[in-house]
């Protein structure tokens, strides 16, 4: 073995030990955590970081955060969660038709935390959280899968292909998978003919300069997304340790891969909280991976799309 190889081996072994020791430390940390306390803390950060864009909720969430920093025990008070839930309810009712689905999910989760802290017994608190985490994970994935199966524009691959051309969140991803950036530009220009009052498209029909690569990518995305969601929802619905474990692995895969191209970080964060809630007691290793999810989702916010498009 040459000196260079020896040095490389030394560094590799060192790195492996470091990762393992850190991983073990994270696992021990997760095992020690108290479920309700940890979920409450993560949810408070969710409410502050990926908040409702309305002054009432923003102000309430910040006051709650300050209150928590000054008096950490306040996070156990139902009044604390009632304030967040009520302000979120006001915001959703005020603008129900414009609120994204994950904002509804955040609202439901805040109310669940309120009811959880309303109970005096720790076992009842735990039960409230675990029951609702499972219910909402099944609900989100099965409802989404049902809506996708019922939608002809989803099943045909139309939605993802169109998004690869016209949605700025997907055009960078399209470039990464080899779709020529001039194609989305040309499609967007063509769509402009429809939208402009100074152009009249004959028979309202245009041939778009789409690409076969985008078509294939769209079909792969369509069926990958649907099958993954259907599988996660169904496996969790069965409530068996083995199916639960498999569902957690798929959910982690979903969170790690979906929220890189789709910048709905609040949704990723809340899914990870629910997954963590379910996994914490039965699968501590998986719960530790959920913990790393929170960091990864925050890192996904770097402006990588701009970097890719500028390349």
């Amino acid at each position: 073995m040459s000196a260079v190889d020896r040095e490389r081996l030394f560094w590799l072994t060192g790195m492996k030990l470091l990762v393992l020791s850190r991983g073990q430390a994270l696992l021990d940390f997760v095992k020690e955590l108290e479920l309700v306390q940890m979920v409450s803390l993560l949810s408070l950060f969710l409410a502050v970081i990926f908040t409702f864009e309305h002054w009432l909720f923003e102000a309430t969430a910040r006051v709650c955060l300050l209150l928590f920093l000054l008096r950490p025990n306040s996070i156990r008070s139902p009044v604390f969660w009632l304030a967040l839930s009520l302000s979120a309810t006001f915001v959703i009712i005020h603008d129900w038709q414009a609120a994204d689905n994950h904002k509804y999910l955040l609202l439901y989760w805040l109310w669940i935390l309120f009811f959880c802290h309303l109970f005096g017994e720790p076992e009842q608190k735990r039960r409230t959280l675990i029951f609702n985490a499972r219910f909402f994970l099944c609900f989100i994935f099965l409802a989404a899968a049902a809506q996708k199966l019922a939608s002809p524009t989803y099943r045909s691959g139309e939605m993802f292909e169109y998004f690869l051309y016209v949605d700025s969140r997907f055009t960078a991803f399209g470039k990464l998978i080899g779709i020529d950036p001039t194609i989305p530009d040309a499609v967007q220009k063509s769509i402009g003919f429809f939208r402009s009052p100074f152009s009249q498209v004959i028979d309202n029909d245009l041939v778009l300069p789409g690409s076969d690569r985008a078509r294939i990518a769209a079909l792969v995305l369509t069926w990958w997304d649907l099958s993954l969601q259907l599988l996660i929802g169904s496996l969790l619905f069965l409530r068996r340790p083995r199916t639960d474990k498999f569902a957690h692995i798929l959910l982690l895969f979903f969170v790690f891969t979906t929220y890189l191209p789709a910048p709905v970080f609040g949704f990723g964060w809340i899914l990870a909280i629910m997954g963590f809630t379910l996994a914490k007691e039965n699968f501590p290793r998986i719960a530790a991976v959920y913990m790393s999810c929170f960091v990864v989702i925050l890192l996904y916010q770097v402006p990588w799309r701009e970097w890719v498009l500028a390349m």
């Binding site: 603008d95 129900w96 038709q97 414009a98 609120a99 994204d100 689905n101 994950h102 509804y104 999910l105 439901y108 109310w111 669940i112 009811f115 309303l118 109970f119 039960r127 409230t128 609702n132 219910f135 909402f136 609900f139 409802a143 989404a144 809506q147 996708k148 939608s151 524009t153 989803y154 045909s156 691959g157 139309e158 939605m159 292909e161 169109y162 998004f163 949605d167 063509s190 769509i191 003919f193 429809f194 939208r195 009052p197 100074f198 152009s199 009249q200 498209v201 004959i202 028979d203 309202n204 029909d205 245009l206 041939v207 778009l208 300069p209 789409g210 078509r215 769209a218 709905v264 949704f267």
Partner: protein, 194 residues
Amino acid sequence: MSRQAYHWTGRIARAFSLWAPILCIPTVALLVAFRQVYLSNYRDLSTWKGGGMGMFAGADGSLNRYTKIFIADSHGKRQPLTQLPSEPTKLINRALNYPVRKNFLLAAKTIATLDWVAARQRMPVALIDANRQTTGTAPESYYMMVPFGRRPREETWKWDIQIEYWRLSYNPVTKHAHAVLAETFVFGPEELRP
């Protein structure tokens, strides 16, 4: 009340107090989702909005819907409004998620608070064929209307605002995009006054 009935009432009350707080939010979530599915099917509410968990479930968001907005005089002559400021643009985009008259009226009212001026020259409307080539000009031509600050309050609004709501679909097999005029909302001057 007999002892047995009392016993059962107590058990039911205990179970209710135990399970009601746990089950009430899932029940609400299901009701909201059913309502969203109904509105999505019958009132064109986007699957992306409204709590039905149908994100990325269909091409019926703001990228597949658009509007063309016109101002019309008492003789029915209409001119397109362009360069909408951010506030009416926001309201139009909001209305596109749930394209009902009430939502477009909000946007139209905001548009009516602005002063609109016409460009000096009429602009022709280009005719575009299926292959995106200009083949000539349409018989009509328009003055381009652009916003010019807020309209003085004492000045009465005298025109109609017409908002055409269009839906766009794309056939991935033939690569054809097709636009359909779904509805034209017309708002008279009385409706638009603050």
